[in-house]
């Protein structure tokens, strides 16, 4: 398989995982604020 193909697929999921991490951080912060 072509390395550019792998690079594109991996880049796609890295972007989505980074955004999911951002969302998770938002929920964690909100839960912390709710507890305070």
């Amino acid at each position: 398989m072509n390395p550019y193909l792998y690079a594109a697929y991996i880049a796609t999921w890295l972007i989505h995982i980074a955004y999911l991490g951002f969302l998770m951080r938002g929920y964690t912060r909100l839960r912390k604020e709710l507890r305070e």
Binding site: N2, Y4, L5, Y9, A11, L34
Partner: protein, 229 residues
């Protein structure tokens, strides 16, 4: 609500796995470009999903302008944010595909430039929402969203009406595609649409909860006796 979310998450995981299998194994290898053409199965569905999300942002912004609904505003914000993520995927996978096929990472072609402009419009929308502190932020953002959405049809139709380096559409306007390729494309689009719906739902819920918390905190502040403030 939770079971619907779990059901959608399971469906998304299945569709994404099936889509990946279709894209890498079942879809035939394109004769001119070879395996690198398989980027198409992530690049195109991501673009279509981004367009749908920007359309949701437009509708929610119009609803907000009409009745100042906080939920419509929260949905507009969530859709713009998730749309920018998908548009980023398009702008990253496009050059990775262009390099081996065109010999260059980027060219100031009409379709590419308009897509970059679209991304910049929605990034500026998000920056406005993040850094502006005035009471009119949501209103100004909604107006920006309505004008920003005008770029979506320009991006989509640019390859129909202008001669550009970007490939012509694969469906409609005389385009044709192998049925197995079309199948892989549509499955991946369904998979990314379900994934986008899940992420949009999570982001919308986070925004609504955050606003509710802020309202509660403001009320508590108001109801506190003066001596304890």
């Amino acid at each position: 609500m939770k079971s619907t979310f779990t059901g959608l998450a399971i469906l998304t995981a299945l569709l994404l796995s099936w889509g990946l299998y279709q894209a890498l194994v079942i879809a035939p290898t394109e004769q001119t470009m070879g395996d690198v053409q398989r980027i198409f199965y992530y690049h195109v569905p991501s673009a279509w999903t981004a367009f749908i999300l920007f359309f949701i942002n437009l509708i929610a912004s119009i609803v907000y302008l009409a009745n100042r609904s906080s939920k419509a505003d929260a949905l507009a914000l969530a859709a713009a944010e998730v749309g920018v993520v998908f548009c980023t995927v398009v702008l990253v996978t496009g050059p990775i595909w262009a390099r081996p096929v065109w010999g260059i990472w980027w060219t100031w072609d009409l379709r590419l430039t308009l897509t970059l402009v679209l991304w910049l419009i929605y990034v500026s929308y998000l920056m406005l929402r993040r850094f502006s502190s005035g009471g009119q932020t949501a209103l100004i953002a909604a107006v920006l969203a309505v004008f920003g959405a005008l770029d979506v049809p320009l991006v989509y139709f640019s390859i129909w009406f202008f001669r550009t380096q970007h490939p012509q559409p694969v469906m409609g306007n005389g385009g044709s595609i192998d049925p197995r390729m079309l199948h892989a494309l549509l499955i991946n689009w369904a998979a990314f649409s379900c994934f986008a719906a899940l992420v949009l739902w999570s982001r919308f819920r986070l925004e609504v909860l955050r606003r509710n918390l802020e309202q509660t905190q403001a009320l508590e502040e108001l109801l506190q006796p003066r001596s304890s403030r």
